[in-house]
Each structure stands twice: as structure tokens, then as C-alpha cells.
Amino acid sequence: MDEVDMELEKAFQSKIDAELKIEPKDWMPDAYRKTLVRQMSQHAHSEVVGMLPEGNWLTRAPSLKRKAILMAKIQDEGGHGLYLYSAAETLGVSRDEMYEQLHSGKAKYSSIFNYPTLNWADIGAIGWLVDGAAITNQIALCRCSYGPYARAMVKVCKEESFHQRQGYEIMMNMSNGTKEQKEMAQDAINRWWWPALMMFGPHDKNSDHTSQSMTWKIKRTSNDELRQRFVDATVPQADYLGLTVPDDKLAWNEETQSYDWGEIDWDEFRNVVAGNGLCNRERLQTRRDAHDGGKWVRDAALAYAEKQKKRMADKAA
């Protein structure tokens, strides 16, 4: 690193230390830019891929009201995707490049969406647990040092908290419902609990990105701390539903005033992240098919816009 860069980097870090936001036109270290592109595009991809497990039940939603709520939720998620792609574009990467990285498997998305939705309570569990875990992460990101990302998160968090409430409401209905509905609700928490905890990523001691991201204030709270926060908030909610959290080590700890709990199956975590979960291949293929299959539509829209531009120019001439 030459002297100029060192000076710039020093100024950059002191700005961050002073809790000032970094804006798109500001100087930033390449690694900071790269980290943000990785994280924000991953976040955007998660919103888009996340539509698929919900879409799996959209056509089978059990009432018109539930269908309408789910459509509104999915629409929000598409909106978050758009918003996040735009925010990432401020860092000099195009949406097409980000898609390319997703479709080639180079970019990741939240692994949780590689699990299948097998019954209607899964839609409740996704809202309650998956969006709940996402909010826990995203509230911390509202104070992220990169301005466009922080601002995007403020907006996203508001909508996500509505999503979480509707998810919990589905779970309430199910766990107060018929015997079969209760079984579906329990089955859903059995399958989604651990993957939801995995959403916070590896233990701090094993996390490649944590320490630098904390210095840069992209990340403000560590994986393990956020995960614990989520467990402490969610276990009482499960109790209220009368559902059993699938962890026989789970116990209230008077001393720490929080829950002790078991250990994540890290082999499973790594396996799904590596692309070998039940739905990884299918999810990615669905996205590729939609993108490739839609090329003629995008080409047509572009061709039409060109024609219109030319017509306007001819008219003006």
C-alpha cells in the first residue's frame, strides 16, 4: 500500500470510528467495497430465492385472506430484492453481474431457503422464525457504516416485522387448531428451528469475515451474540404457542438470564452451504430458468425502448 492509500485509509477509518456514514462517492478500501458487494448481493439474492419456498404454498394457501397476505409478503420481498440490488449497484456492480454470480453458484444466498416447505405451517414458521432471525440480523445492520445499506435496512426492517407477525399469527391459528394442525405446527418448528439458528452463521471464533467487518462497522454485533438474542426472544414465543423447541439441552439459565441450548449440526450447515441441501440445485435451476426463459422478454423491452427513442428523435428532427 502506498502512502496516499494509507492516508486515505486512515481518514476512512477515523470517519467510521466517528460514526459517520460512508457514501457511494466516498473513497473506500477495495476490500470494504468487496465485502459490501458480497454481503448486499447475497442479501438481495436471498430475498429473491426466498420467494420460491413461499411460492410453493401460494397456490395452495388455505383461505383467500391467507393467499392475499402471502402475495403481499412476497411482493414486499421482491421489493426488498430490488432495493438491495440498487443499493449494491452504488458500489459499481450491475444487477446483471450479480445475477451471473448467483446463477453460476459463485454468490451465495441464505441457506435456509434450501429447505423444503412441506406443510402450510412452514409458511408460518418461515415468517416467525426465518424472518425473525433475519430481523435480528437486520436491526443490527440499520447502523451499518455504509449509508445506502443502512438506509435500506431501516425500510426493510419495518416490513419484515409485519412479516414476522403474520407468520406468528399463522402459527397461533395452527397450534390452537385441530389435532392435525397442531401436528403440522410442531413438525414445522422441528424442521425450521435449527436451520433458523444457522442463519446467524458460524461461531465467532470460526467466522472468516467477522473481525474485519466489525472494525469497519459493517457488522456491529457478532454472530453468536445475535443468535443468542434470537433464542432468548423466540423460546418464550414457542412456549406461548405450546410448541416444543427441538433441543433437549434447552434450559433457562438464571445466572446469565438467558437460555442455554445445544449445538448446531455444523456438518449439516457446511453441507447445505456447499450446495448439497435438499433443494439447492432445484432453487438455483428455477432462478436460472426464470432468468434465461425471460431473456426474450427483456430483449423485447429493450428493443421497444430503442425504437421509441428513435421515434422521438425522428419526430424532434
Binding site: T59, P62, S63, A68, M71, I74, G78, G293, W296, A300
Partner: protein, 252 residues
């Protein structure tokens, strides 16, 4: 049929179009050609499901047999549905979905515009609320028909094929029968047969701008008013109605 039965039947015709088309749009979830359209298709679908809820809820009340919107949506078999044949046609590619949508949006716009003057206050209010949404739907679908028609050779061919494929489903939408006549006479419904001329004007101008050929009127199919549907509707309903049918005692 007594007056209530006629109104019930009429409301089903209006509401079923919305319910089935909303369901068809829901099938697009995660598969749209571009993210912006992912949002738009969900948005239009959501509006339609909302309209279906208002209309079927009202239908249930008019019927007075204790059926609510969900009983009507989830516990009727194919032959009890009153949506147009056009509406239940499979999505096909994006051109076909947009052609179907444009054909219906223009129709529904004119129909609901007229229904805002209905003597039935509930219906006129539903129509007025829906009309704002339909105005947007119509603009959205017409723009896509134009864009694809006047886009590339490939998109032009696909859009022309879609229009051709759906053309014979159109005449049914403008048919009058005893129920429609009775509703017009009561000042509740609107005479759809007189809407045809304005619909034609709208469609002609869209097709012209899209550089598409208006197909000859060489064929037409009918039957939805009597519950004679295409084979597609049964599968749509099997999917849509699965949960409430499998667990009839459950509340969701």
C-alpha cells in the same frame, strides 16, 4: 330463480373471474422474466384476490345460506364456477399471460366502470374501489402487449400467437342471458353486449400500436355460464382447494 338467486349468480360471475385469475397469477411466483415483473404480477394478483374476496363475501351474504368467501372459493367443484373460459386458460409464456390479462383488463375496466352506477350500493362501491386497481392493470398489460408486439421478431411472433390462441374465448364475455338481462332490468348489472364496441376500439388501438394483426373471428367457444369449463379448471381447483378440502374442520 328469485331476485336473490339471480344476484347471487351474477356476483359469482364477477367474483369468480377475479379469484381464478388471481390464482393463475400466483403461479408465476418466482418465475417472472424480470424482478420488476415479479412484483407487478404479485401486485395485480393481489388486487384480484382482494376483489374476489369482496365479491364472494357479498355473494355469500346475498345467498343467505351461511357460506362465506372461503366456502365459496374452496368448496365448489368445477361446474359450479362461473369464471370465463379465458380466465382459466394456463399461463403459457409471458406473452400469453399478458395477452389474457389485457383482454380481460379492458373488459373488466368497462364492466366495472359501468357497475359504479349500479343501484346496488354494495356492488357499486366494490366496483369503484376495484376500478382504480383495474386502471393500473389495464395500463400494465396493454403496455406489455405493445412492447412485445413491437419489440423483437421473436417477441412479436410470440405475442401474435398468444392473441390468436385466445381470440375465440372473447365472444363469450359479451354474451347476454336471462341473468344478465334481469340484472340490467333491475338497474344492478350492466349490459355487456353494448360494451363490445368500446372494447373493440381499445383492443384495436393496442393491437395497431403493437403492430399486431387482429385475428379473424373464425371460432368461439362458450359454456362457463352453465359451468361447462375447459379441462384446465379442475386441476387449478384441485391445487387451490387442497387444504380446506383435506381438513374441512380446520380454521387457518
Amino acid at each position: 330463480m328469485n331476485d336473490n338467486e339471480i344476484l347471487f349468480e351474477y356476483l359469482l360471475r364477477l367474483g369468480d373471474n377475479c379469484a381464478i385469475l388471481g390464482q393463475r397469477l400466483a403461479e408465476w411466483c418466482g418465475k417472472a422474466p424480470v424482478l420488476e415483473e415479479e412484483l407487478a404480477l404479485m401486485n395485480v394478483g393481489l388486487d384480484l384476490v382482494g376483489q374476489a374476496r369482496l365479491l364472494l363475501d357479498y355473494a355469500g351474504k346475498v345467498e343467505g345460506a351461511g357460506r362465506d368467501e372461503d366456502q365459496l372459493a374452496f368448496f365448489r367443484d368445477t361446474q359450479e364456477w362461473r369464471n370465463f373460459l379465458l380466465i382459466e386458460q394456463p399461463n403459457g409464456d409471458f406473452a400469453k399471460t399478458m395477452a389474457r390479462q389485457m383482454i380481460f383488463d379492458c373488459f373488466q375496466y368497462l364492466q366495472f366502470e359501468a357497475l359504479t352506477a349500479s343501484k346496488d350500493k354494495t356492488l357499486s362501491e366494490i366496483a369503484a374501489k376495484s376500478l382504480k386497481e383495474i386502471t393500473y392493470h389495464r395500463r400494465h398489460s396493454s403496455n406489455w402487449v405493445i412492447r412485445l408486439g413491437d419489440g423483437t421478431d421473436e417477441s412479436h411472433a410470440k405475442m401474435q400467437a398468444a392473441i390468436d390462441e385466445l381470440w375465440g374465448f372473447i365472444p363469450e364475455m359479451f354474451d347476454m342471458d336471462a341473468v344478465e338481462d334481469a340484472m340490467v332490468a333491475a338497474g344492478i348489472g350492466t349490459d355487456v353486449s353494448v360494451l363490445r364496441a368500446r372494447w373493440d376500439d381499445m383492443i384495436n388501438s393496442i393491437l395497431t400500436e403493437a403492430t399486431l394483426q387482429r385475428p379473424e373471428d373464425t371460432w368461439s367457444v362458450r359454456g362457463s355460464r352453465e359451468g361447462k369449463h375447459s379441462e384446465h379448471l379442475g386441476f387449478l381447483l384441485a391445487e387451490m382447494q387442497f387444504l380446506p378440502r383435506a381438513y374441512p374442520d380446520a380454521k387457518w
